[in-house]
Symmetry: C3
Subunit: 140 residues, 3 copies
């Protein structure tokens, strides 16, 4: 069994889904991973990790619009607003999605579906520098 | 450490929660897994994996109804409808639930709660053939 | 590779987010884990595990309020109410959050973000005794 680890640094430019699939794939190839499990972990509470449709941008637009409608900025009942109108919403949206993803690796590649990409879902309006902890158990 | 892998093939007959617990259990027994972790991954973006109540069918009916109400088909603001009225909804519902599940294995069995089952939550109206990637790390 | 396992017992006193970060950390230290992955699994269907903001209590209050508003008790369309007004809601809320969490361990500590805590999100009104299955793969 081999173990690999790194921290991916992702720059986000405001709210929305940022495709990080290629960053993860490039790291897998650099390590020469053969087969096992890939664990991604986001050590932030105002963004999340999402696996979703990677072909038609309208699919992602609808995911973003849905979240704006379900958990709007500045709702009158929020009490957590120290960091602005996007404060409570960002934590709630993170809770409704995922902080970690676990993806099988086969033949050196992520075993994603054909139309499946890995996205960092930024919930903050301002640009952020996010970390994604990447860990690999290679069973070969 | 031992490593096992397979792909479960699940036929879904339209929307709703499909119990796959026995398919996973049967595979564990066939391999003679002793103790470790079971990783399930769904390489699709219009369905998801859910751990939920396995005894009273009304619990599952309410989960399904909730999703129909929260993310209805054909809302007027959807832009992603190439594959029909269930297109945007299916991706949004997948985002709100899980694409992967990680379950401990002890004494050769999934360590689920007494009333906990593993479900594939199909969000497409038409029947589909879905894959569930199953990976096991057996630590014995 | 080393494998560790235990079951944490958590007493909840009604609905809401219960911080279990220190219980997990204390167990890691007791085992002297060095580096690897920590898997937490909740064998219950009316509670969940959430990683969220650990500094300002108002962030957690808003998460709880959001769930009360999105999935209210006793909605007129629920059919699953054998165990009371919190029956359907508790399963729906569990589906929208997480049943398992996977967190990297580095230098003997959980690699959580600075403001990130691990919470058991109880959805039942009455006090419960909950189990959290904790599994560690230590790669050193």
């Amino acid at each position: 069994m081999n173990w690999h680890k790194t921290t991916l640094e992702i720059s986000t430019h405001g709210k929305g889904l940022h495709d990080i699939t290629e960053s993860v794939r490039a790291q897998l190839r650099a390590w020469g991973v053969h087969e096992g499990m890939c664990f991604l972990f986001l050590p932030h509470t105002s963004a999340s990790l999402v696996l979703s449709e990677n072909w038609d941008p309208s699919a992602r637009a609808d995911l973003e619009t849905f979240m704006e409608r379900l958990v709007p900025e500045g709702a009158d009942w929020y009490t957590h607003d120290l960091e602005g109108r996007d404060d409570a919403t960002s934590h709630i949206r993170a809770m409704l999605t995922d902080t970690s993803l676990t993806v099988p690796v086969d033949n050196g590649e992520l075993s994603l579906g054909s139309w499946q990409g890995i996205y960092l879902f930024e919930q903050r309006a301002r640009p952020h520098r996010r970390k994604v902890l990447m860990r690999i158990i290679d069973v070969e």
